[in-house]
């Protein structure tokens, strides 16, 4: 594609802080290769009127008043209710599945079996975000009559649809299943033994994961690096499996509104992936499947694809010729549809006396259950400028529900270990932990981290550290501690993504995008970006999202790509529509299009000022419509998003309670589209990270292979009383090499450092004693203290 070189200035915009006015730091002017057709570049000096403003989200009121209708709320006339029947055994062959008793139960409309191997495996792979793998399985699968082997408690066997949910549940329990129990293993250490039962027939339980090599991957020679070091620390950290527990469970409401047309409301992070899975399964054109996600009650990486639940709902709807609702219950959520894998990490860090890192080595074993992908992310490779890095990850298969992507997959585990190892190294070198990080700073274009460290440390009062450590020696049982950790997340946003903007002759402006709002506030962002181009207020723009029907493509919301991929397409479409509008009306005003401007709801530059609506009336009955595709990132290699979080904790050494008093978080996501929305993402990420640090962990009864805490009584999520004071600062790290809004994502980088920062603060409070396992519950704190005393 034709590109032209455009000069633009990047840099870090520091918001007004402590009475200081807004500042621009590290400004640098570069030439950017911009594809033809892109709107004018924005840079660090651009002052948008609407974009970036902290305006409350347009769908806030209908969400908090209960008027927003989520998938769970869809109740079409004649709706049937469906439930899934699941394996009660961790590893078993199905000898027989007798559905006849269920079929005779009151209200039952259909019972289907889901235990053919092709269906089950393909659907599971799809839901885990591996459509290619799912397609390959479907291609390869014969229509075998052999029943699938149950691999974990919660594996799907059958589905029932009935007039009421209660009837469906009763009928599900009436299905008679005979199992032949097989040897199983759920404990990671046991699964690593050579004589352990095999989780997947004929495959080793341990599977090494590929290690990328290169500047952002494994590099150098860690043995050499360790040999060059003046100080080496060797340490270990473990993290537990964490559950996703989105407020709205997985599921859908499916309805064949014509014999060959399927409409589905789905609680999904990817309406097009969901649609593709259903079209594949039913062997029908994708255009005949419509997937709608008006409002999504949360998704953290486990809601890609239709899954077995989505296919079962559509299948039952076809069997019964009625709409069918199949939403998972909380137990199924916690057994079968994705979790954050565990990690058991051994680390070696080497450094020179002055703190310069010479080696980082990580060896990690984690369990993804029957799924895959238990790597510990890339903190070791991306956080610091270290010439010698090696991380070897291994999946350890166990007879438990599969892992899925979960908000920054792998990185919270990796950061928890690496960032505490960094503090251990700092202790050994008698350096301040923040100083050690600054010493190993990896400079990159338009990277805000150096400033984030400085701002965070100043606001948080990092200098109190020595004084707090001293006063802990004379205090009572409650010790105070300060800790911090680094965050980083790569910029994954890219094409494809599309947007369409339509201007009507009464001044109504509509924007359509094909993504769903995972909670980041896509409706608001779309409205703001569109309003900016037309000089309107965001509430004057009507936004259509979460529907495959218009054929405007949007990406699945994963990898913090939604805004980064979609918003630049919106700006391109809005800019194009504006140009078309001005070109259409200029002749009627006797003006040149380039002299016209849209601002403050008015058309300016014409002989007389017109309101926007009056200007549009010059179209008579015509409409203006423009579609745009997301352009390629202007440069292929973009700097990551960064952040630093500082935690202040109190540790009660007589009860083991860790109370987080305050977290200061300084982050960037390129140019923030709406400061309130960004802060909301940061708040949510910190709370989720705190919950992971202090409370959350799957508990498995290894003798029986059952998950014991598959409900929200026993699986403890942080509540209001766990939430500390949150001090959030957002910098705009303007990197003009990316896209026409300089925007990056924020959903994931905010959870990466939280547990590590809390862990370091706890160690500071306890005189250097690190709690090496997540969650850091009172029993673990008391046990660690007792071990030191012994």
């Amino acid at each position: 594609m034709l590109k032209k070189k455009v000069r633009a200035t990047g840099g870090i915009i520091i918001p007004p802080l402590n009475g200081q006015p807004q500042k621009i730091a590290d400004a640098e002017t570069i030439e950017v290769p911009v594809p033809a057709g892109e709107p004018p570049l924005w840079d660090v000096y651009t002052r948008p009127q609407v974009v970036g403003q902290p305006i409350p989200r347009i769908d806030g009121p209908i969400k908090v008043t209960g008027r927003a209708r989520y998938t769970y709320d869809q109740l079409p006339a004649g709706l049937l209710h469906a439930v899934l029947v699941r394996s009660a055994h961790p590893h078993a062959r199905l000898l027989s599945v007798d559905i006849a008793p269920a079929q005779k139960m009151p209200g039952v409309r259909a019972v289907i079996r889901l235990d053919s191997p092709d269906l089950m495996r393909a659907s599971a792979a799809s839901a885990a975000g591996n459509p290619e793998q799912a397609a390959a399985i479907r291609q390869a699968a014969s229509h075998s009559q052999k029943s699938k082997t149950m691999l974990f408690v919660g594996d799907e066997i059958a589905a029932v649809a009935a007039d009421t949910l209660e009837q469906a549940e009763d009928a599900a329990r009436a299905i008679r299943i005979e199992y032949e129990s097989l040897p199983f293993v759920t404990d990671v250490a046991a699964a690593r033994q050579p004589d352990a039962p095999r989780v997947h027939a004929g495959q080793d339980n341990i599977r090494p994961l590929p290690s990328p090599h290169g500047p952002d991957g494994d590099r150098g020679d860690v043995h050499e690096g360790l040999a060059q070091a003046d100080a080496v620390i060797e340490t270990r950290y473990e993290t537990n499996v964490a559950m996703q527990n989105a407020l709205e469970p997985h599921g859908s409401v499916a309805w064949w509104d014509a014999p060959n047309h399927l409409t589905v409301w789905a609680s999904t992070q990817g309406i097009f992936g969901f649609r593709g899975d259903l079209a594949h399964f039913f062997q029908m054109p994708a255009s005949q499947v419509r997937v709608i996600t008006d409002y999504l009650g949360g998704g953290f990486g486990a809601k890609f694809g239709a899954g077995i639940y989505g296919i079962a709902a559509a299948w039952l709807a076809r069997e019964t010729r009625a709409p069918v609702k199949l939403m998972l219950d909380r137990k199924a959520e916690n057994l079968a549809v994705g979790n954050r894998p565990s990690s058991h990490q051994q680390l070696r860090l080497g450094a020179k006396k002055d703190g310069t890192l010479t080696a980082i080595e990580v060896v990690n074993f984690g369990t993804p259950g029957i799924g895959h992908g238990a790597g510990a992310g890339a903190a070791s490779r991306r956080f610091y400028l270290c010439p010698n890095v090696s991380q070897r990850d291994h999946d350890v298969a166990t007879n438990l529900g599969p892992a899925a992507a979960f908000r920054a997959p792998g990185w919270p585990q990796g950061a928890f270990a690496l960032e505490q190892a960094m503090d251990e190294l700092a202790d050994k070198l008698q350096l301040d932990p923040l100083e050690l990080r600054q010493k190993n700073y990896w400079d990159k274009p338009f990277k805000a981290l150096r400033i984030q460290y400085e701002i965070g440390a100043a606001r948080f009062g990092w200098r109190r550290r020595a004084q707090i450590a001293a006063s802990n020696r004379n205090s009572g049982p409650v010790k105070r501690g300060l800790g911090m950790a680094t965050s980083c997340w790569p910029t994954f946003g890219r094409p494809p993504a599309q947007a369409r903007v339509v201007v009507h002759s009464d001044g109504a402006v509509e924007v359509t995008v094909g993504c769903q709002d995972i909670g980041g506030g896509m409706r608001m962002i779309a409205a703001q970006v569109t309003a900016e181009e037309f000089g309107l207020r965001p509430h004057q723009v009507r936004v259509h999202i979460g529907d495959t029907q218009p054929g405007i493509y949007g990406p699945a919301s994963g990898g913090s790509v939604t805004t980064t991929s979609v918003a630049p397409a919106i700006r391109a479409a809005a800019y194009d529509a504006r140009q078309k509008l001005l070109a259409a009306i200029a002749p009627r005003l006797g003006a040149a299009p380039e002299s016209l401007r849209l601002r403050g709801g008015k058309l300016l530059g014409a002989p007389r000022a017109l309101s926007f609506a009056s200007a549009c009336r010059l179209l008579r009955h015509a409409t203006i419509s423009a579609e745009a595709d997301r352009a390629q990132n202007y440069e292929p290699h973009l700097t990551e998003m960064h952040g630093a979080q500082f935690a202040e904790v109190e540790v009660d050494t007589e009860t083991g309670r860790i109370r987080v008093v305050k977290i200061t978080a300084v982050h960037d996501c390129g140019r923030s589209m709406n400061r309130l929305l960004v802060e909301s993402q940061v708040n949510g990420g910190i709370i989720m990270g705190l919950s992971y640090a202090l409370l959350e962990g799957r508990v498995v009864d290894h003798p029986t292979g059952h998950v014991m805490n598959s409900n929200l009584d026993f699986y403890k999520l942080a509540g209001t009383r766990e939430i500390p004071e949150l001090d959030v600062v957002i910098l705009d790290a303007i990197d003009p090499r990316g896209n026409n809004l300089d925007v990056k994502g924020i959903g994931e980088p905010v959870i990466v450092p939280t547990a590590a920062a809390i862990g370091n603060a706890v160690a500071h409070a306890l005189g250097g004693l690190h709690i090496r396992e997540l969650p850091m519950t009172p029993d673990r704190v008391l046990n660690a203290l007792a071990a030191v005393r012994a």
Binding site: A88, V153, E166, E169, G476, P477, V478, D652, E654, T655, G656, R657, L695, V699, V700, D701, H702, P703, T704, H706, M708, N709, D713, F714, K716, A718, G719, T720, R721, E722, T777, P778, D779, L782, N783, A786
Partner: protein, 336 residues
Amino acid sequence: MNRFEWMEPASLESAVHGLGPRARLLAGGVDLLGEMKDHIALPERVVNLKSVSGLDAIEIGDHGLRLGALVTLDRLAAHPQIRHRWRAIAEAASSVGTPQIRNQGTLGGNLCQRPRCWYFRSEEHKCLKKGGDICFAVAGENKYHAILGGGPAFYAHPSDLAPALLVLNAQVRIAGPGPRGRGLRLRTLPLAEFYRTPAQRLVGGETLLSDQEIVTEILVPEPFGDSTYLKFRERLSHDWAMAACAAQIQISAGHIKRAQLALGGVATIPWPVPAAARALAGQPLNQATIEAAAHVAVAGAQPLRQNWYKIQLTQTMVRRAIRQAAFPEKADFVSA
């Protein structure tokens, strides 16, 4: 949930006669509904006690406090005189669950709730408490389980109100069928005699109640001292006790004249610790006395593999509860 018959008795007598081996009593329903949804309770009949009038009164008279079994936890927590004179009750009530649960949950229900052991609550685990032949906690996940009063089962009793009422010498009034199964018989006994360890009773409940008996009222005498209930929750926002201690203490001239202590969350029943109370009585109120009481409070503890920490945690709760009861006006100590 199974299908069941719904009964709305108009009187206590018909409630009692509506009960039986296959029926369950419903008050707030917080616990029963969960048991039924988890398929560990399959009653053929549910008897709604709320249709019987007169069981939700709070009365304060010459002989102390009378609390109807249907008084909600929220009312106990908010009652000014209870907060003032029987503080342990108000503190225990306010420590339960969430505001929604406290609005719905009742005093009687809190005292009679079933264990929160995750094996007991799991349909797939046919444990000793459900007529099976194994306590899965012994070889399994037992971090939250009992260190006192265990064997052959090791669940921890979840009631917060019971330890508080124990140290306040409460009595429990029980209605049951009269002679030859006709009419109504009322009996009153100390709450300290109400509970049954798993060695005493394994299946059906954790109290001496027969399947036709109903707790109707709790009687609490005038307190002899200041009382408190201190509860350690792993999750502050909503949790059962990991360890808790209730205390009633009378101080005179720097000495402890009289004391009562009881533990929650660490034993198979709400656990009175008379030996700890004796260690306090007559002693000067100082660190050594408090340590001695904390030491004997956990005498005989038999931790499982994952709950050794409960010994130290319990001792901490005992020490802090004693200080909190002894110095109710001071807030300079560390709480739970």
